[in-house]
Amino acid sequence: MTADADTRPGTTLISALTARARATAHPHAPTGPCACADAPLADRPDATVVRHAGTVAKAHAPDADPTALALRVRVAARLPDVLLAPLAPAPVPLRDRLVTFWPYGAPVDPDDPDAAPWESAATLLARLHRAPVPPGLPPMRGPAKAARAVDRLRSALRATPHAPARAAAGPVLAAWAALPGWAGAAAPMPGPAALCHGDLHLGQLVRHPAPDGPWKLIDVDDLGAGVPAWDLARPAAWYACGLLPPDEWTRFLTAYRRAGGPAVPPDGDPWPALDVPARALTVQTAALAVTKALAAARPLDEVEQAVADACARMPALPPRRAPGIPD
């Protein structure tokens, strides 16, 4: 197999992972020469992802819970109309990481806003939210990620004196303080739990088979049981902050409702259900932006400022509550 590349001292995780992807792509000649191109797709502290031909290998975060990750991958295998199905049914260890294997899918083009698949994203979410929650599945990790972004901002504030970015941090922390505990994973999520993606954005959709197969959701690391409105809250927050045009928000919301999604009522004002998650994701986005600006000792750019400004308007307006859901 690929034991050499896996364990040789000095070999990077990315090259060991590429060897695994190559072996999975060519199971009959795992170490032989091949003409396929290798491409790193992501190399972040929480994930390293490489592609070899039609195979993608992902090394999950060093602190990923093995049992929870296995359950999440199994959900993807069971819902192939909604989530990209894994190539292997269970994660495998590689050094100190767990690795999963997936078929390559074609992503959304970041340079072509008009081609963004808003209806498909909404319909896939509605189907996901209507699927049964498997027993033992842990909570969706959206609120934990929002809390982590705010923690990072607090650490960055302690470390840097850059005045303009420090000034932007105050309203972000104030908006966070006004949210109920569940929005930061400090309390259980309210209401009936649905199967949720947990980290929806436009990088989480691919067409499989590439380049023009049906759209599927990818990345199950944050998938779990929880408040389904969380998965609608990023587009909702982008719309509220003026980053997503009303037409595109309407297309997304209408498609979700048409597909019978349970996160919002079938008609009328969706904001009582969306308000807390959309605030939390606005705060999360602003916290990450201000943290980056602090690290680079630079002011916020125009888009980041729009998100921080929305945080500044929040504390004066108490969060709304979905009917029948306690604080």
Partner: protein
């Protein structure tokens, strides 16, 4: 969408301006809220030489609802902000913000 009965894919058809979904498997029909009333209304107008009904009703004739903390030129404050703002920021925010955690 999938048929709630037999799970085959459903296809959308436009009948006199009313969108209906029909299952490609069992041929069952799904009507959204208000569509049955729209069809009944059309039926009652059938004998009259009325002009054709308007195209599919707009889900949101006005700007969609938005939270009060939203942007003045964007979704917030009733959403009456106009579209120039998006043309200005659209590409930047799309590639920059809408693809990251």
């Amino acid at each position: 969408m999938q048929c709630p009965k037999c799970h085959a894919p459903m296809h959308t058809y436009n009948r006199n301006g009313v969108q209906i979904e029909q299952c490609s498997g069992c041929r069952g029909i799904f009507l959204d809220y208000g569509e049955l009333e729209a069809l009944t209304r059309l039926e009652s107008q059938w004998s009259q030489p009325a002009p054709p009904p308007p195209a599919a009703p707009q889900a949101y004739p006005a700007a969609p609802a938005a939270p009060a903390w939203g942007a003045p030129h964007g979704g917030g404050h009733g959403g009456h902000g106009g579209h120039g703002h998006y043309g200005h920021q659209r590409h930047k925010s799309f590639g920059h913000m809408l693809f990251s955690s």
